[in-house]
């Protein structure tokens, strides 16, 4: 039951997708719509209604988003064709199948590099803050820190990442691999096994599915990654 709202949210995303004319990519009407996936994008299982020329998931570029995370489904095919798309989605470790109808629209917005965000009232909407507390735990082997890429080193020294994640209900902490909090915890041991600067999302006394992962290379990527993982 806990996954139900997320499935609804994703189903809404899929139903919001419309098409464009043949030869042109079409995108979600809601490029700002956040996805609540915890383990990467959905996988297209079946497409009925004909063979589309191209099917792929894409990520809305950050400058065009109204929320930190946006994802769109891109299908190319003959104008007027309706496709039934079934996607497999991993949510909280549980695989679900979602189906939605997609029609290639014969009337097009002018094809451009990427459409801009739809006009909306006021400032950018912010996704709902999860009720549960989530920790984003970065684990460094600090003896190797001098050889870290500049982005990760800057991430270590950053003071703004804590503030950037706080509105999401995420507490950012970082540790050394030798810290007793790391060596004596489930999340810490899992992070150390990765043998790289690692990131663990921890909530309800459990590691969130798909973690630990390699620590993103800079603060922007880290915030985006965590946001994508925790937003319903």
């Amino acid at each position: 039951m806990k996954d139900h709202p997320r499935r609804i949210a994703l189903a809404f995303l899929l139903s919001a997708i419309v098409g464009s004319a043949a030869g042109f990519a079409f995108r979600s009407r809601r490029p700002d719509l956040p996805l609540a996936l915890t383990a990467g994008p959905a996988t297209i299982v079946t497409v009925t209604g004909g063979a589309p020329a191209k099917v792929q998931w894409g990520v809305t570029p950050a400058p065009l988003r109204q929320t930190p995370v946006g994802q769109s489904l891109v299908i190319e095919g003959p104008a007027g064709t309706t496709y039934q798309v079934t996607a497999a989605v991993l949510m909280n470790g549980d695989v679900g199948l979602l189906t939605s109808s997609v029609t290639i629209c014969p009337t097009l917005p002018a094809p451009g590099p990427v459409p801009g965000p739809l006009p909306g009232p006021g400032p950018a909407p912010v996704g709902p803050v999860p009720a549960q507390k989530v920790w984003a735990l970065a684990v460094f082997d600090t003896s190797q820190q001098i050889s870290l890429p500049p982005g990760q080193l800057a991430l270590y020294k950053s003071q703004s990442v804590v503030a950037a994640l706080a509105p999401l209900g995420v507490v950012y902490r970082h540790y050394d691999v030798n810290d007793p909090a790391v060596t004596g915890s489930v999340w810490g041991i899992a992070a150390v096994r990765l043998q790289k600067p690692a990131l663990v999302l921890w909530t309800n006394k459990a590691i969130m599915p798909g973690f630990p992962v390699n620590l993103p290379g800079n603060e922007h990527d880290l915030v985006e990654f965590v946001t994508k993982a925790v937003q319903p």
Binding site: S143, L153, Y156, V171, A181, K205
Partner: protein, 279 residues
Amino acid sequence: VSLILRRAPVGVPGSPLPAIIANGEYRRLGVKLSDRPKVAIRTFRDYLAGNPILDLATMQPYDLPVVGVPIRNQGQLGDCVCNALISAVEEERLFAGQTLQAFSPAALYALVNGGSDNGSDPRDAITEWQSKGLCLASDVPPDTWILAADLPPAAMLTALRFRGSALAVYQIANFAELVTADWLGFGTTLTINVGDNFGPDSSGLVGVTNGPGNHQMAGGRGYRRVNGRPQLKLRQSWGEWGLAGYCYAEEPSILGQQQPLMFAYRWVLSDPLDVTNPV
């Protein structure tokens, strides 16, 4: 609580500031201290584990202002060692994502000054911090003179929460290591000579002195070169003295003394009750 009127204000060029006691000077000063074991401190070379330190000849300037760490004011107390250590601890807490706590240098000073306001040894401060912890400023006011025997038991009990971890401190051997630690994001503390030419110039650079006293400061997360001479930014504990609480110093100011003591701090506090701890 014993309150003692202090001597002439510190921080004025030419004023005495015996804020650090080097090894062996306790007896000369008549200070009765127990033979407390000095903490075994790993070296920064140990920490680096074979990684090279920065080459200052090619090091690019940086300035990484630390937001949220208060500039301290030791007033007329000789507790610069404790102010510097606490400043580094506060900075590391912020960087690690922990909540900022206001600590009391006066309480730590009481544990390491042997009952006399003649300064203290940075290694004693580290030892006491790791064994007894740090009192909160709300329990022991920061700018007051207090004896160890007068520290409230409840405050000392709270202080246990804020003990430094055993792996938190590394001793630094030279100026290049000091800059490397500062650039890598360590909190640092260091001794600096204080004498008759200590006032900073308009650029914030403190003079090179041969004065009798010395002083302890925290690293300020900044580095620059002026006329080819590397200068490290420092955070001091005399209020807005210098560049709004900061100054720059060159290598001779830091190393040109009998016993320079420089330390780098990392992962300083486990703090089992911090609200940001994962549970």
